[in-house]
Every structure is written in structure tokens, then in C-alpha cells.
Amino acid sequence: MVTIENLHKKFGKNQVLSGVNLSITNGGIFAVLGPNGSGKTTLIKSVLGMVIPDKGTITVLGNSIKKNSDYRHKIDYLPQIANFPSNLRVKELIKMIKDLRKPTNEDERLIKLFKLEPFLNKKLGNLSGGTKQKVNLVLTFMFDSPLIILDEPTTGLDPISLIRLKDLIHAEKAKGKTIIVTSHIMSFVEEISDEIVFILEGEIYFKGSITELKNKTNQPDFEHAIASILTENHA
């Protein structure tokens, strides 16, 4: 589904990615993990074409992303921080995004799911962070694309919404989609992901299932496994 070869990216003097090689197969949920500033978001944005790599190639569904941007119609992307034009109403925003991408009716179901009906006529500037994130989720999941990229999807969500999100992700996975997630909430990652990609200092440090990770680090649980990677490397 997604193949990344020898990806390099520098922001000014700061080398963020230095030679990432990664191959993500069809179907399943992949969690991209790593400490702050390790290059998770940069990696994702590179796949989306929002960051232009210095070196390396990325192919999505067999097409090199450099050639054209059509592949992006096959990706649903949830940005990390939901910044919306503040003088737009929720309804207008959803309508606009549908107008820009393609018509769909999925939004009604998702609005019901996240109980957003009361907010539809409110301006985005007046919404709380959690509500904004729900709107963000609606915008992402309403298009039925084979690849879904979620950057910190849990930010600001209340427990009920979190459960609904997990259900949603599982449902999408059941349709045979590929889902890439980044998150800091380890329990969430552990619960949903099939495979982990751990990035450290701009390189892939580990790729495999959670059990493999536990075995590799000799830790009984996932959180400790991650922590041990970090302490080992910083020591």
C-alpha cells in the first residue's frame, strides 16, 4: 500500500528524517510511534505530499507521489491540530469539504454518531477543542477511501467518543482498509494496532507486532517496552 525508501528531510539545520525505509501492506492498523520531535508527523506529511522530501521515494498504491497528486483522493487524512476558519459554521464547513472533494452521505451518520447535531449552526471559532476534533473526525471518515491516516486522533475526546472512535476504526479495518495512526496514548495504540512502527532520531527503530516488541525488550507490558527503548537510547 505505502512504500517508503531512503527518506531524508531536513528543516533548516535540523535533520528530522534520515533514511527511513518502510513498507506498509494492505489492510490492518499501523501505529507510528516515537518521542516528541522524532519525525512522526513529518513522515506522515511526506506521504501526504505536504512536506517535500530532500531525498528518497514514496509510492502509494503503486504510484510514485512525485508524479501527480491524484493518489491523494485515495487517502483520508485527519490533521493533528484541528484549525478551522473561525468564521465558518460547522454545516458550511462540511458542505464545503464535500464540495471540494466529492458528494457523500456518510456525514449524516457520523454527525449522529458523535452527537454533533446541536453544533451544526455554530461557528467553528466558538467550539471547544473536543468538539472541533469530532468535526475533524467527521470530515475524515465521511469519504470512503482505502487509506486512512490519523494524526493524534484522540486529542480532546471524552471517553464515550473515544470508544466510538475505536469502533469506527475497527469497522473501517473490517472493510479491508489500511489505517495509519500516530498517538501518544499507549493504551489506545495497544488496543487498536496490529503493527507498530517506532521512529527514533529520524530512523525506523522497530517495526513489528506488539508481542514482538515485548519479546525484544523483555518487558511484560507495552508501555514499559516503549519506555525501555527510550531509556536505553538516552542512556
Partner: protein, 260 residues
């Protein structure tokens, strides 16, 4: 791109700045025409407004819109849209809404004044056309500055500096060059100097209507040929178009290279 243009345009139509701008021009037009009651004087004042204020407002507004619509841009970037169409759409949204404010704001009072019956309609159209060109040029330059500077304060600084450079400093240097080399034939130099600055070029175009008698009171075959014929007007408009296209091309180029 048209969809983005549409949404940028709507977005601007909601913001109160467009109305302030429109109201300013309306007021100016009304004051000039109905309180002054003198069309010739009004046209001179209008020329000053168009060659000084329009570029200033275009730059400031362009930079401001770019920084203020960061969220909108980010949202659009998350969608499967072409980058060049995102930025071109936004640029055209700003430039067109500014041009519309200019044309409506000045046009409405003039129509009420009875413009269609007067001979001044061509002069006036020329004023509006150059005003629109200047809006397109300076908004494009503003977008260039904003695209190259993440830092808002820096961006605003450069924008003001650019305006100051083209509106005032350039003419000062130009004047000094002409005086310094007064012993040499200068007509080609002065024509080239005018062409290189869109504000000077627009001013000269309007001068052709306003002060033709003064401009002809000066020896120089190149000059006369330029001003006397349509050739000059055509060249001027080609140059103005180039002044729009070059920054726009850079917007496309820059937006393709930029990381978000």
C-alpha cells in the same frame, strides 16, 4: 481552483475589512464628486489614490489575508487538492475582492454623477483598469512575501518595505540617476526606468491622459513616439501583465516547494 476562489471570496465577503475598503472608496468617490464638484480635480486626486493607496492596501491586505487564513489553508492542504490551485485560488479571491471594492466603490458615485454621459468615461475606465492591475500585482507580491516568510512580523515588515521602495524610494533613485547623467541622452533610460516599476508605469499611463501637454513639451524622439502612439499603451499593458504573471508564477513555484 475555482471552488477555492469561490470560498476565499465568500470568506472575504464575510470579513469586515472588505466593507471598510469598499466604504472608503465610496466615501472618497462621493466626497470628490459631490463636495468638490470639479471633475478635473477629482481625477487628479483619484490618480494619487490609485498609484499610492491601491498598492499599499493590496500589499497589506494580501499579507494579512495570507497569515489570517492559515487555518483555512491547512484545512485545504489536508484535502486532496493541488497546491497551486489552493494558493492561486486564495490569491485570486483576495485580488478580485479588492478589485471589486475599488471598481464598485469608485464606480457607483461616478455613475450617479452621470459618468456615462460625460467624456471622462475613458479616462475614468483607464483609472480603474490601472487600479485593478496594481491590485493584482501587489497582492501577488504580498503573497510571495508571505509564502517566503513564516514570521508574521517579518512578513508585514517586508511588505511595507516593498511598497515604500516602489512608491517612493525608486523614484528618488530614478530622479538622481537622471540628474547625474543629464549630459547623456536619457529618453531610453527614462522609459526603461518607468517600465521597471509598476507604480511608475501606471502613473505614466494616467499622465498620458492628464498632462499630455507637459509631456510633449520636451524633446526626445523616443519619448514622443512612445507617447504619441498606441504602441506605447500596448507596450505598457503588456508590461503590466508581465508584472502580474511573474509574481503569480513564483507563487505557483514557491507553493510547490514549500513544506507545511
Amino acid at each position: 481552483m475555482l471552488k477555492i476562489l469561490k470560498y476565499s471570496f465568500y470568506d472575504l465577503m464575510r470579513s469586515r475589512w472588505s466593507y471598510v475598503y469598499l466604504a472608503f472608496y465610496l466615501l472618497l468617490g462621493i466626497v470628490l464628486l459631490f463636495l468638490n464638484n470639479d471633475l478635473s480635480k477629482a481625477v487628479i486626486t483619484l490618480m494619487n489614490v490609485i498609484i499610492i493607496l491601491v498598492p499599499l492596501i493590496g500589499t497589506i491586505f494580501g499579507v494579512m489575508y495570507y497569515y489570517n487564513s492559515k487555518e483555512f489553508t491547512e484545512l485545504l492542504l489536508a484535502q486532496p487538492l493541488k497546491r497551486s490551485s489552493i494558493f492561486l485560488g486564495q490569491y485570486l479571491g483576495v485580488a478580485l475582492s479588492l478589485s471589486m471594492s475599488l471598481i464598485l466603490g469608485l464606480g457607483i458615485p461616478f455613475i450617479f454623477y452621470g459618468l456615462f454621459k460625460s467624456n471622462a468615461i475613458w479616462d475614468f475606465s483607464l483609472l480603474l483598469i490601472t487600479g485593478t492591475f496594481l491590485t493584482l500585482i501587489f497582492t501577488a507580491l504580498a503573497f510571495n512575501i508571505a509564502l517566503s516568510n513564516e514570521n508574521k512580523i517579518k512578513g508585514f515588515g517586508y511588505a511595507i518595505l516593498l511598497w515604500l521602495l516602489l512608491a517612493v524610494v525608486y523614484d528618488g533613485l530614478f530622479l538622481m540617476t537622471l540628474i547625474m547623467f543629464e549630459d547623456y541622452p536619457l529618453d531610453k533610460l527614462s522609459l526603461v526606468g518607468t517600465m521597471l516599476n509598476p507604480i511608475d508605469l501606471s502613473r505614466t499611463l494616467i499622465l498620458l491622459k492628464l498632462d499630455i501637454s507637459a509631456l510633449l513639451g520636451y524633446t526626445g524622439a523616443v519619448f514622443k513616439q512612445f507617447f504619441g502612439t498606441n504602441f506605447g499603451i500596448i507596450i505598457s499593458f503588456i508590461t503590466l501583465t508581465a508584472w502580474v504573471l511573474l509574481p503569480v508564477l513564483r507563487i505557483i513555484y514557491k507553493s510547490k516547494k514549500k513544506d507545511f
